[in-house]
Every structure is written in structure tokens, then in C-alpha cells.
């Protein structure tokens, strides 16, 4: 395994152009430390606060087989202390200074952040740098936390038929790629996760050359550079760091179906998904077309599906379309149809397919397209209001393989999408043979019973 690691040279800096910082017009600058840690600074001086984030380019889709949930478990365990900090002390120091902190895990990233008064940034960096390689774990703190993540799974998934249904649908969407595994983990594997599993994962992936520092708020690039040099630069890079290369999906050659039944389901619905291309560095055109396609179909009462199914035919109570293009590997294009009362799931699904076919025949509502482009342009103004939201947008993009330049080009790429681009994307992605269709409903035999 070590040999293989060395053969696959670490390329953690792939998302950035190494070299000097350059600030663009909206107060954003980037640079890379000698140890490979990338740094992004977003200046916003409206409020005397900063958001300090460290993102690792590792997530649930990078977990070794049989240890699903370890990325998220480790995220919890990162608060359990180092040689310099007792368990829980990290958050204690943040709170004692009026700040807030938290962490999050997805398939492609794990992130840690604190929001504090700007002059506390050095302390945040000192503590975050400390736990980048200094985590100490023992069973007496790790095992109760395993109970916590099992309770978290119970709360988020096992108590919610809709969440269990989505988990099953995603599992059959991805036959081979790890996006089919739940981020929180499969319960039977979570129950077996050990402290050593967590430490092994930690040592493999937590290193400056696998991390991105994002500081947003009332700071300057020079301040961040000097602090990052002081706190993060001394941490040695991990020369063994592997390139993230995940197994790919085989071509889908048959439509797949899943029916999930639970007596607590009061409102049945149809969920359809298709494997779809994601945003890639320097190549965001198809993802932009799919983004506009999803909005043309599903946004507001003048979205195509809403018009056809909710307003005209009244076969649906609700329709929704969602496409998340910011992803390291191929993503999904999702449609939900909640049938109107008295309309079966079968008929709701048939109405959806008829509407999609009509959309691809009938061309595009150009007024709606123009309106959407105006809204996307305005979004660039509205999103300036949330410093943390901007920081997060960059963090997600950079851990999904995109560059700062890609993020900044995205609004323009969206504006340049044409009617033909959208129809081509629709014909490429919305193919019945490569779909996954799920039905969520109450068990048929007792569907009419009232359950309390």
C-alpha cells in the first residue's frame, strides 16, 4: 500500500495555481503555503468578525470498504482533544470568546469552522493547526461518541421514512461508485467502527497538503498570509497522500426501480433521478445547462412541470427539480412528483414522463429563460450579504475539484447557456433507460388504516 501511495504522487495543489497571490475585483485572494496548504481570503469589512474554515479534501466517498461513516465519525472525534487541548476544550475556548464553531461532512469534503471576532483569528488558527496532526483518541471519549452518531442516524434516517427511502434510492443509483453509500454510514458498519479506524483515516488524509484554509470577513490578505505562515506552514506535508481516484460507474443499461413502504408515510410520492455530469475545471458548460434545465422544469409556478402537472392537469400537488452540479464525480438530476389526492403513483409517474417528453419536443419558454438569467445575475448581489455563505461556496467548489477561476467564471457560464444547450443536456441526461424511479408509500394492505 505504501508503494502504491508513492507511485501516485500527491497532487493536493491541483485546485490552485501555485505562486503569488492575486486579488480579484471582489476582494478575493489565494495563495499556497510551501507545505501544499491552499489559502483563500475573502475580504468583507462590514462587520468586525471573521469566519475561519479548514476544509479537507476527503469525505464519505473516500472511506475504505466496510467502514462507512468513518469520515463523519472522525469529524465528531476531532473535538476530543490533543496533547495541548482536553476533549471539548476547542469549542470551550471558541465559546468563551463569544464565537461559534461546528463541522460538517459530505461525500467529497470534511470542514471545520469558527465564527469569531476578527482579532481572535490567531487563536483559531493555532487550535485548528494543532488538531490537524495532533489528535489524540482513546476509547473512553470515542465510544460514547459512537453512540451519539448512532443516535444521529436514528434521528436523521431511521425515524424518517422519507430519509430511508432516499438512502435506498441513492444506493441503487450508484452500483459501483461510493456516492451510493450514506454519509452517516450503514448502521451495521457504524456499530463496528473503532477508534483505530478513525485514527487510520485521520493519519491518511489530515495533512496540510490535503487542506484548504478559507478566511472570510474583516481581514486582509497580508494578515492571513502572515498568520498562516506562522501557524500552518510549520506542519509538514504528508508525502504519502494518495490522489483521490474513485471507482467509476459502469454505463447504466436498464431503468431501475425501488418501492419503499412504511406505515408512517402519509403523503406518497415519486422520486426520479438520473446520473448527470458535474462541473469540472474549465468545463462547466454542461453543468450550467443542467442548472438552467432544472430551473426551467421546476422553479416556481411557471416552471414547466408545475405548469403542466399542478396548474393544467392538476395531477400533482407539488413538483420539484434539483440538480447539484458541484461535485467531484458524476452527480444526479432529481425530480419529485407528489400526486394530487386520488392520483396513483403510477399515474403521477406517467404524467411526469409525458410532461418531460413534451418539454423536449416543445422547446423552451424563452421569457422564463431570460427571467432565470436575471435572477442568477441578481443572486451575485444577494449572496454578498452572507460572508459565511460565500466562504462555504468556495469551500465546496474547491474540494470538488474546481478552481477559484471556475467559481468566478460560473455566473458568466450560466449567462451564456443557450436554448440548444439546454435541450441537448435534457436529451443526454433525461433518458428513461438510465433512470432510477422510486415510490414512497404506505404498505398497500394497511394504507387505509389510521395509524397512531
Amino acid at each position: 500500500m505504501g508503494l502504491l501511495n508513492r507511485l501516485c504522487a500527491p497532487v493536493a495543489a491541483f485546485a490552485f495555481i501555485a505562486g503569488g497571490a492575486h486579488a480579484s475585483e471582489d476582494g478575493i485572494s489565494q495563495f499556497t503555503l510551501e507545505n501544499g496548504m491552499d489559502v483563500l481570503v475573502i475580504e468583507d469589512h462590514r462587520s468586525p468578525a471573521v469566519v475561519h474554515m479548514v476544509w479537507y479534501r476527503v469525505g464519505a466517498a473516500d472511506e475504505p470498504l466496510g467502514t462507512s461513516g468513518i469520515a463523519h465519525y472522525l469529524e465528531h472525534l476531532m473535538f476530543k482533544g490533543t496533547e495541548n487541548m482536553a476533549a471539548g476544550e476547542f469549542s470551550e475556548v471558541v465559546r468563551a470568546n463569544g464565537g461559534s464553531d461546528n463541522a460538517f461532512t459530505s461525500w467529497d469534503y470534511t470542514g471545520y469552522f469558527q465564527r469569531v471576532a476578527a482579532d481572535l483569528l490567531p487563536q483559531m488558527m493555532e487550535m485548528e493547526a494543532d488538531r490537524m496532526t495532533g489528535l489524540i483518541l482513546t476509547d473512553d471519549v470515542a465510544l460514547p461518541e459512537r453512540s451519539v452518531i448512532l443516535e444521529e442516524r436514528s434521528q436523521r434516517v431511521d425515524s424518517d421514512p422519507g430519509a430511508q427511502f432516499r438512502e435506498q434510492a441513492l444506493a441503487i443509483q450508484y452500483l459501483n461508485h461510493p456516492y451510493g453509500r450514506p454519509i452517516i454510514g450503514w448502521r451495521h458498519e457504524m456499530e463496528e467502527l473503532s477508534t483505530d479506524d478513525a485514527l487510520e483515516f485521520y493519519r491518511e488524509y489530515y495533512a496540510p497538503n490535503n487542506a484548504i484554509l478559507i478566511v472570510a470577513g474583516d481581514v486582509t490578505e497580508a494578515e492571513v498570509r502572515s498568520l498562516a505562515e506562522e501557524y500552518y506552514a510549520p506542519i509538514p506535508a504528508n508525502p504519502e497522500l494518495k490522489r483521490r481516484e474513485r471507482v467509476a460507474e459502469p454505463p447504466q443499461t436498464a431503468a431501475r426501480r425501488v418501492v419503499f413502504e412504511d406505515q408512517r408515510v402519509a403523503q406518497p410520492y415519486v422520486a426520479r433521478s438520473y446520473l448527470a455530469p458535474e462541473r469540472n475545471p474549465g468545463d462547466q458548460d454542461r453543468a450550467a445547462a443542467l442548472t438552467l434545465l432544472s430551473a426551467l422544469l421546476g422553479d416556481g409556478p411557471d416552471g414547466f412541470l408545475s405548469r403542466r402537472l399542478e396548474f393544467d392537469a392538476k395531477t400533482a400537488l407539488y413538483t420539484g427539480v434539483w440538480y447539484g452540479g458541484t461535485s467531484l464525480d458524476p452527480t444526479t438530476f432529481n425530480i419529485t412528483v407528489v400526486p394530487a389526492e386520488g392520483v396513483s403513483l403510477e399515474d403521477g409517474e406517467a404524467a411526469l414522463d409525458a410532461a418531460l417528453a413534451e418539454f423536449m419536443e416543445g422547446g423552451i419558454d424563452m421569457e422564463k429563460l431570460d427571467r432565470l438569467k436575471r435572477q442568477y445575475a441578481a443572486q451575485s448581489i444577494y449572496e454578498m450579504d452572507s460572508t459565511q455563505g460565500r466562504a462555504r461556496k468556495y469551500g465546496v467548489a474547491l474540494t470538488s475539484g474546481l478552481t477559484v477561476e471556475d467559481v468566478q467564471a460560473w455566473p458568466e457560464v450560466l449567462q451564456s447557456v443557450t436554448e440548444d444547450d439546454i435541450l441537448a443536456a435534457a436529451r443526454e441526461v433525461l433518458v428513461p433507460q438510465t433512470s432510477v424511479t422510486g415510490w414512497l408509500r404506505a404498505p398497500q394492505a394497511v394504507a387505509s388504516e389510521v395509524i397512531q
Partner: protein, 441 residues
């Protein structure tokens, strides 16, 4: 390589007051319009948009018992067509302006959250004016949205959190409107007519109960004339607001049998008024007991030490017409009884002993240091400003609030803990199949 250890980290705490950011950037202007409205404004010229919050007191509590759900359905329909525009045309006009309006109803208010770009302010406000003065309540829109509300009610009937909330309200609020289902029941919602919705609209959206705040790129003068145009045509008075609720907590544990692997636990007891002299001491007390997440006693005892839950919380719930102290958690059925025992024991321990000086200091520095950080966007500033007015505070509160937190002493918190916390009154609702707890009371 790591240069600090525990003592250094502690010194950070001690220097925190010197590190506090000031409110220099949050300068509240009180705008009195010629038309007689009052609004609070924080001008922030760096981003060319405005966040506007308008709150009408009353909300779903204004519903008559046989018309439950009228205010909720009405609120959901405000944006579904107004003036010359049907639902789709209204949405298109709004989206053309890249504006957004959000209408929501709670048991205390109907709220309007608007954001709009500076260069299309007039057009956006014309559209919002139309929604607030001439909603259409078209038959097809009413039926479409009614079906969505009914679907939500069916789902709520199978949702342990919703069941817990409803059971809790019924147990605590007696015959006050707070005890009723704000979204209505399937029967009352099905029976609502267009006349009912129009009556709910006229009763809920009126000038005698409005509170307004804005933040963004707009001058006091421009805001003043904007508001007079926007709200001049509203009725002067609406439906009479209900009186204060009488609340009762009997210290019982009620189990609602529901097939789910986790029990949803809600608990509560009487709270303390927002204008009570001891409110700040109680606020700090709750931060220590259950309001602070990690570091608070409930989280440490229930989550960190025992791994019983993913999350447990408590908060002072100061509603317009009742003051409660409530909390909640979700836990495995097998350990629900243990969780309740721990919560009750912590409640009693805090009532008897109060917090330690260290806990008090940590809670105070958190609350003091965190306050300025809340004012970080137009959207959050507009929200805070409207909330301050609803709490009958003055703009000067920004300058005095942290001093009042700082002034809370250990003796204050111990005394308030002993007076306020009552483990015998602490009442639990459990939805699930908890082991060792029988269904019923």
C-alpha cells in the same frame, strides 16, 4: 511547535472584553413616516439591495375555533395572485425584478420578509403593495394551496415531532388559542371559504399591529415614503388580539405510542417575562443549563457522557401571550426513561446548587462576545431590529445589553435558579415506544 497549552488558552478568555468589537457599524435610525408609521433602519450602502421585515402581530391565534387554519391558508395565498395578476403572472413579475417576498404565519404573527434590488425598488414595492392590499384568492389557487396544506396536515399526523408539539400545546394552554392547531385541522381547512380567507386577511393585516425594520442601501427618507405608499391602504384596525394565556404544567410524563425507533421528548415548565428584572439572570442560567450546546449541562450529561442523544436543548420561550421554559431531545426508545431521569436530576441539581463561578463566567463571556457577531448581514440585522421592537426595546438596548449580561452575579443566578426551576412542574411529552414508560400519564 505548538506554542500554547491550557494556561495560554485560558488567558484568551480573560482578555475577551478588550477584544470585543463595537457597534460602530450598526447605527439604528428611527424613521417616523408622515403617515404615522414607525420603522427602524440600518443603512448599509455596500451592497445594492434592501432587506425589509414587516410583522403583523396576532397570527394564527386570531382564528376562531371553527375557522382554524384560516390565517395560515390566507398567508400562503397572499402571493398566489393579486390585482390584475394571477398566481403565475405575479410570480413572473416578481422574478423579473429578481425580488423575493416570503410570507409566513405563526401563532403570534404574520410576517413578510422582502428583499429587492435598489434599482427596481419602486416596481418591487408596487408588486408587494398589490399583494398586501388586493390579493385575489382565486378559486383554483385556493384549491391548489388548500390541497397542499391538507397534505401537510396528513404528514404531521404521522410525524413524531409534530405530534409532540401538538400534544404539548394542548396540555399546557388549556382553552387559549395557543392550544389549537395553527394550521387547522383537516375538517376546518376543508370547510374554509373564500369569504373566510378574506375575513382572515382583513383581520390579520392591519396597521394597528405592524412592526417594521429594514437594512440595506436605502436612506431614511426613501424608506419613509416607501412605507407610506406600501402600507397606507391597509385597514387601520384588525381582529382583537387574544389575552394572555394561562399555562399549566403538572409535572407528569405523557407517552404517545408511535412506531419509531427513537422517542421524541419535549419538556417544559413556566418561564419568565422578557421585562422581568430577573430575565437576564434567567437567560444566563439557561445558557448554562441547556442553551449552550456543548458545555451546557444537559448536553454534557446526556450527549457527551452518556451518548444518549444527538442533540438536547432548552430555551426560554417568550411568546407574545405566554412565557415558557422548554426543551427537547430525541433518544433511543430503550434509553428514553434514562434521559428523562437525567434531565429531571439536572433540573433539580441546578435549582439546589446553581452554577459554578466558572460556568457563569464562561456563559457570560459567550453571550457578551457573541452578541455583536449576530449583526453580520442585512438580512439578520433587519430580523434583529424587528425582534427588538416586538420586545418593546429601544435602539439604546444595543449599547446596554452586554452591560446587563455582565452585571449578572453568581448570587443572582443561584437565586433565580431556585425560584424559577421546578423539577416537580417539569412536564414531559414522549412520542415513540419508550421502554419502561407506560402510555398515557
Amino acid at each position: 511547535m505548538i506554542r500554547f497549552a491550557k494556561p495560554a488558552a485560558l488567558s484568551l478568555v480573560l482578555t475577551v472584553t478588550a477584544a470585543l468589537p463595537s457597534f460602530a457599524s450598526v447605527d439604528i435610525a428611527e424613521v417616523e413616516t408622515p403617515g404615522g408609521l414607525t420603522a427602524w433602519l440600518v443603512e448599509e450602502p455596500t451592497i445594492p439591495f434592501v432587506a425589509l421585515e414587516i410583522v403583523f402581530k396576532g397570527g394564527t391565534s386570531l382564528d376562531a375555533p371553527e375557522k382554524l387554519g384560516a390565517v395560515n391558508l390566507m398567508t400562503a395565498l397572499i402571493e398566489e395572485g393579486a390585482g390584475d395578476l394571477d398566481a403565475r403572472a405575479f410570480a413572473a413579475a416578481r422574478d423579473d425584478l429578481a425580488a423575493s417576498f416570503r410570507f409566513s404565519a405563526s401563532d403570534d404573527s404574520v410576517s413578510v420578509s422582502a428583499r429587492f434590488l435598489v434599482d427596481t425598488t419602486d416596481e418591487a414595492m408596487d408588486l408587494l403593495h398589490s399583494a398586501l392590499t388586493e390579493p385575489r384568492f382565486d378559486a383554483d389557487a385556493v384549491e391548489r394551496v388548500r390541497a397542499q396544506v391538507l397534505s401537510g396536515l396528513r404528514s404531521d399526523a404521522e410525524d413524531p415531532n409534530a405530534i409532540a408539539g401538538r400534544t404539548f400545546a394542548e396540555a399546557v394552554f388549556g382553552d387559549h388559542p395557543y392550544a389549537r392547531a395553527g394550521d387547522g385541522t383537516p375538517d376546518t381547512v376543508a370547510a374554509l371559504t373564500r369569504d373566510d380567507l378574506m375575513a382572515a386577511f382583513k383581520g390579520a393585516i392591519a396597521r394597528d399591529r405592524v412592526t417594521i425594520a429594514a437594512a440595506g442601501d436605502i436612506s431614511p427618507e426613501a424608506l419613509s415614503s416607501l412605507l407610506d405608499s406600501l402600507l397606507a391602504d391597509l385597514p387601520e384596525t384588525g381582529t382583537a388580539l387574544p389575552g394572555p394565556a394561562t399555562i399549566s404544567f403538572d409535572g407528569s410524563t405523557t407517552v404517545i405510542d408511535f412506531p419509531t425507533p427513537q422517542s421524541v421528548i419535549s419538556f417544559g415548565q413556566p418561564g419568565i417575562a422578557r421585562d422581568d428584572d430577573d430575565f437576564f439572570a434567567a437567560y444566563v442560567l439557561n445558557q448554562i443549563l441547556g442553551g449552550g450546546g456543548f458545555g451546557s449541562r444537559l448536553t454534557e450529561e446526556v450527549r457527551v457522557k452518556r451518548g444518549l442523544t444527538y442533540g438536547i436543548y432548552s430555551y426560554l420561550a417568550n411568546k407574545d401571550l405566554a412565557d415558557l421554559y422548554v426543551g427537547g431531545a430525541s433518544t433511543a426508545n430503550a434509553r428514553a426513561a434514562e434521559t428523562i431521569e437525567v434531565v429531571r436530576a439536572e433540573w433539580a441539581r441546578m435549582a439546589e446548587e446553581g452554577p459554578t463561578q466558572a460556568e457563569l463566567d464562561a456563559a457570560k463571556t459567550y453571550l457578551i462576545g457573541g452578541y455583536p457577531l449576530r449583526f453580520d448581514s442585512n438580512a439578520s440585522i433587519a430580523n434583529i431590529l424587528v425582534g427588538m421592537q416586538l420586545d418593546d426595546l429601544t435602539p439604546e438596548y444595543l449599547e446596554t445589553r452586554n452591560d446587563r449580561v455582565a452585571a449578572v452575579t453568581l448570587d443572582d443566578v443561584k437565586r433565580v435558579a431556585a425560584e424559577l426551576l421546578d423539577p416537580d412542574e417539569l412536564t414531559f411529552i414522549v412520542v415513540g415506544q419508550p421502554e419502561g414508560l407506560a402510555p398515557g400519564n
